[in-house]
Symmetry: C6
Subunit: 220 residues, 6 copies
């Protein structure tokens, strides 16, 4: 089933695009949310740059938590595991950043990812999309694998003129400059924001902590 688009919209499963000396390939990215203690685990023979891109993706998602309906303290009660099969194939590079963000958002919100979309693009800590390499090989792999829509960084739009016409006709190619656009295209529905006022929450937590010892005494 590898090298092919997913068969159904799934939570936490995103199709990325890889590029190696032997051509492009689809890259299935899987995230899992588990009851835990705020730990992040990554597996799949990932190089340091790809691991760092997961760190950046994770921090970006934490920074927008309330916008996707997650209260920040919740992060300390979940573990997140990001895995990239096939486990024996080495993978590296930052270009799966947008896919990592999408996968993590999907798993945190429980909103499935559309099955016939693929994406490529580095992500910054502010959610901006940065240019990637191997666009042609990646688009060919997407077409071959039955993908319908591909999100690429705005910065790579200029490279589209070198892409063969049949590829551009077989795929809907959407240049994006920010994660917000990615989520809009990739998730089956929009996450709902939750209110979160850091200062107010902290004050409330402290009041509660103090009260644990005090009120009983006052009631005598």
């Amino acid at each position: 089933r590898f090298g092919l688009a997913e068969e159904a919209d799934q939570v936490g499963v995103v199709t990325g695009l890889a590029w190696t000396s032997v051509g492009g390939d689809l890259l299935s990215i899987e995230a899992l949310r588990l009851p835990g203690k705020g730990r992040m685990k990554t597996t799949g023979k990932l190089g340091d740059v790809m691991k760092e891109s997961i760190d950046a993706a994770s921090s970006y998602v934490r920074s927008i938590a309330p916008e996707i309906g997650v209260k920040p303290p919740q992060f300390e009660k979940w573990d997140i595991h990001v895995h990239v099969p096939e486990g024996a194939t080495p993978k590296d590079g930052p270009s799966a950043g947008l896919a990592m963000v999408t996968s993590i958002v999907s798993v945190l919100t429980g909103i499935p990812v559309k099955k016939d979309i693929a994406m490529t693009g580095e992500v910054t800590l502010r959610g901006n999309a940065l240019a990637i390499g191997g666009l042609k090989e990646k688009l060919l792999a997407a077409l071959r694998g039955g993908i319908k829509t591909v999100l690429i960084p705005q910065e790579n739009e200029k490279d589209l003129r070198e892409i063969p016409d049949n590829v551009k006709e077989g795929l809907t190619i959407i240049p994006v400059s920010h994660v917000s656009e990615v989520l809009e295209h990739a998730l089956v529905r929009k996450p709902e924001a939750v209110e979160w006022d850091e200062v107010a929450e902290e004050a409330a937590a402290q009041a509660l902590a103090k009260g644990a010892g005090g009120p009983g005494a006052a009631a005598h």
Copy 2:
């Protein structure tokens, strides 16, 4: 006794299939559940890819915990040790993933694994079975070792036409595409699910925590 099927149905002991330059071999995989603190230990001169396949297996099992009768918080009170004898032989690769899942499920549920079954297949975080290499050598080793039934990934079914007839006649070969099928074939009985509502449980835990200080005072 190595290179031979197990002599009895045992809890936590699963027969995997290894493939090296000198042929196939049976691989005994042992898991142990100990009272502890949620720690995972792996031993047996395992390479990084096999260690990661244990991580993926473990996360997958945690993600289906209620379905096998385990409440998620229970994971923080057990240690799990996965060992692959013989300790001096280096082992690597992702193809023992399904066996790792089976071993961990067996040890968590206390349900024994059938002694004359062997299995091979990479596992994803969603419990899907991925293709492996060395199918012919692995099946030969299974036959030689007295195994009756072998579970292989659905993706490898196409490779069966290259397998000698005597091997296919001596073994029941079952292609599987998901862990659920593996557990059905490998465990001596089906695990019973337990109800688990994450949101409700968390609310209850918080109410209990708050009550520890408060109700006593109110009763005065």
Copy 3:
């Protein structure tokens, strides 16, 4: 968008200047403040010297916390992530120290950094600016990238005579000897100090801790 000045004043985003064998380049430095536990994360394929320069920058900022309106214990409730895109490009050296300090101060205070300023300079634990190399290449990259103002270490002022006139005319070049000057030039407004008396705070904290058990008894 890389190699160009930022498009807007942003919180936590600072433009540094890099210098390699193939010339100078703009270096976007991003910090993020997250609810957390005092952890510091750094990503972007950073060498050990650049990581240490972030450590030094971070300690310096902690040492002046009250001056920028942050009470020291607050540091144990935030995580800070510093990332330097592009993630596949190795970066090293201490010369981004002043930019690291500025980025961290911006993210802690919520005060944006001016979008058309760039800076280069090592920082000491006392906030002093130390000389850097590659001044000419860095200034050329700044000019090319649309930067208007560049802060350089006072110790490098003597190197300005080797810089072509058109570069010096196209940029406002400001030599600085201390972080205080950097913040004045780079932030859109001055941080407001908060009062912090370590000894008094500690005494208050201890009194509160003791009181948790005591006052109830006294009230009988």
Copy 4:
């Protein structure tokens, strides 16, 4: 004194058998139990495989704790240190597994190990004995060192026909297939089991924890 049998029955000291390119040797294995926090320390220039064999031995012993009279939570209140003198000589391999188990059981129970016994054999997580190499050299070293009884894995019994008669006459050689047989032969007396019902104990612990806040209020 090295290369010779122990002079007295001691707690935690077991004689193993090593095999190198220059012949066999006695290997003194020492364990110590200290008041602590569940930490395990290993010293003596041990290779990774030998360290893993100590991990496996330790997990096996934890898994049979009640059978040797130790309640599982007790493990979190002790540190165990396993040392293999002579500290400058590198040691490796899994074949000291049975000796490691015996040493740890002895130190946990306080039951001494017979001084004129030696043993060799890998151990699995279920306490099974696996075959080792260098049987002839190891038996020669045992004879030379004044050992009276040697425990070897059942799987190695077939190799006894290649052992010179004088060696077989000078030693009592006992093939074993499980740790239970090893302990019976090596310890001066049998450990007494303690009752331990994991589920019941946990329930009791939780009741106690809850009671700390609650019962007082109920008594008013």
Copy 5:
């Protein structure tokens, strides 16, 4: 400003003396004390031997804490950061030990270090000064940098006869055999001791801990 004496007496900043194949140099050593949890951080591309010399200096200072007015438990409430600019220059060796001690004492006591003094010498865990190499090159660098007074280990006094007269006339060279002499010469004033009776303090702490639960009951 590097390679020159400090411009003012500063807290936590000490001038050491380095010696490399290209001659001697001044080495600015900076320590910072931050509210924290007893953590020690070191930066500046320091080799393992220099890091260990900071460990030794730190332990020595902890061992004399009451003599410099610091109660030992205070160490668990501070973090200390020792940095040696310039961050891109590798530094190693134990000869900055006395300077490390002085820097840490200065930062803990808040007493400034005299700006025109430099020092070289390894330190032991008892505060003894041990001989160093490169005395001539170090003294030349001190003279060149505007230093007035140099502290050297007593064990190096015999090497002074090989030092040119102009160097010996331009500098006040003081041989020292213990940290106590170093502090007397280097700090602008003597630290005041604080009383500390470990046994009494511990007893008091325990009494307080027990009382937290008890007195309330007694008052009924």
Copy 6:
């Protein structure tokens, strides 16, 4: 002062004997006891074998704690730092084990070590002395350094016939087989034992812990 005997009886300072390709040398071993959390630190460019010998020495001392007047829980309230100057000289090997034990016992008990004694010998976890190499070179270094008494392992006594007569006449050479003999010869007075009944202490601690919540309620 290095290469010479100590000038006074000191707490925690022991003279060991090193042996390298260029001859023997005195090795000053320093231990320091600090208020802390049970941490052990080692410095002085020590190789892994010497670090492990310190681990073994430390565990042995913990195992005899009551015999030297130290209650075991006390170990969790102290940090111990073992340093071997000169910091730039690499040191390795297990032969300083007896000296490490002596240094740690001295620092824990506050009993000084005799200044004109030196010692060499590996130590086991039971406190036994094992043979060392380079006896001749070590004794020559001891004589040269003004040492009066040298403790050597009993197992090395046979090597004394190869030692020149003038060395044997200039030194009191005492073969020892156990740490108990070492301490008797090296410390200026014998440590006093303290009573310690692990089981009783634990029961008392548990009773206290339970009582913290209970008695108040009972008193109403």
